[in-house]
Symmetry: C2
Subunit: 307 residues, 2 copies
Amino acid sequence: MRNIEDCTIGITGLGLMGGAIAKALRTQCGVTQERLLACDKDSETLNAAFKTELIGRGYDTGGAGEMLALCDIVFLCLNPSSILRFLDQWKDSFKNGCLITDIAGTKESIAAAAEKFCAYRKNAASSSVSASTFMDGGIDFIPGHPMAGAEKGGFKNSDLCNFNLKNYILTPISCNKPENMELLQKLIRKMGFSRVTEVTPQEHDRKIAFTSQLCHVIAAALIDCENDMEITRFGGGSFEDLTRIAMLNAPMWTELFTENRAALLARIDQFEKSLDDLKTLISGDNTEALEKRLTLVRDRRTAMSNK
Amino acid sequence: MRNIEDCTIGITGLGLMGGAIAKALRTQCGVTQERLLACDKDSETLNAAFKTELIGRGYDTGGAGEMLALCDIVFLCLNPSSILRFLDQWKDSFKNGCLITDIAGTKESIAAAAEKFCAYRKNAASSSVSASTFMDGGIDFIPGHPMAGAEKGGFKNSDLCNFNLKNYILTPISCNKPENMELLQKLIRKMGFSRVTEVTPQEHDRKIAFTSQLCHVIAAALIDCENDMEITRFGGGSFEDLTRIAMLNAPMWTELFTENRAALLARIDQFEKSLDDLKTLISGDNTEALEKRLTLVRDRRTAMSNK
């Protein structure tokens, strides 16, 4: 296994999560400023990151190839569709033997693209005349999803992401090497994440449709149906907790919702069914049945907390 | 206006909120142990409160009358239906001139009972032979709702209630005296609440149906439709935030839901309409319209935060 200290690490997309990962790598994982590079469309962000000694060098979008040629590990911190485009555009620029991971909130399309990309690079390496390139064994790409966002976006808000004791999901693909999986897991835990779960991309997308996307749709619907701008006078915590995430990054969530459409719609239907059941109980006179259902909910949620 | 320091204060129901109010009165409002009394059905709670020097004396349910005879201010910290029963049972035991308030999460029935109760005591005082009793001017009752609960109940969890910078709703009735309103507001602010709003009981119940009850129904429905007990592995904050309140006190919330049934059902319908609109947008191909709607939601929620 490679030593993290010997690796040059590149971040593509120094936004909320890219920025937070960069900071965690520098402060928690022993990555030096020189060995941390970043690529972003916004030159002001890159300048700020360099001036605060976060990164050794910033590259604009056109300079991504130059950065990738130096990187042993690459974090793709872009929206799902941008990741797919980036991979396609720079497919020949990644350094042989490098380990790629990403942070996208949907994984099926990313994992499929990762499989395809690794196969492409493996073929390119084996057809190459250079024996050393072949020995490097191409590229590895382990799709991932750090479960630690924040309702405000951009590099300037990246301190709002707290990785401590949070979840991280990995959706390995067929070609992933055990030593790379070990290296990435080590890095993730050093960043502060405590629970790393490996599942298939399909399983990830089904679960996330519930824990993340459905919750965002519900928060949005709650705000959508209320037009009293002083409603927070009547808040006691529940309203604030349920609608904080309604301050969402609209373009990103539009993409996540449509990307995972089928799973999300199925989850909305299940939720609506439960909501209708509760509505029926509330409208009826059988308070005993309502109390029983609420007790089951309470017990289930409490049991979930202990896992 | 009376000085808070000269008042003997009684708490009926030393549960989560009664306990939290008792602690705030002692630590924030200069109320001495001797002047703070409590009545509860659980003798262990009363003993614990006395031993920790929180209250001067505890009274079991049968001893409520003895306590009430001493109290200048009474906080009724019971479920709505228990408040109505308590008022009826002890209607002649409250000290003349005393100020009553309550903490119930629905206010229409409480306010109606308060009006009736104050009228009853006013009549009783004016028909009394004692001139001094008449001079006391009967009883005052200002219905209230501290918006600062917690998902775990009982006195032992009362430290979980944090009143700092929270909302407090008052729903005054026709007979409330300005000096009593001033005294109660002073007490509320000393306890830590920063925003005190006066509205009609009807307005309170309509708003709370949205900010509190609908949010609890949604949290319950979310848990109701998920049976993976390890789902928190896939949580990134949204799921946890939206379902924390699913760990609800089932008997109390059954009462609050049914007590405020009409307003709550109307709010569920509105929410379902918005959810259906979003579902339609997600299932369709017009991502631009979806993004536009989410942007409106984001902007509205952000504007609400600034109020």
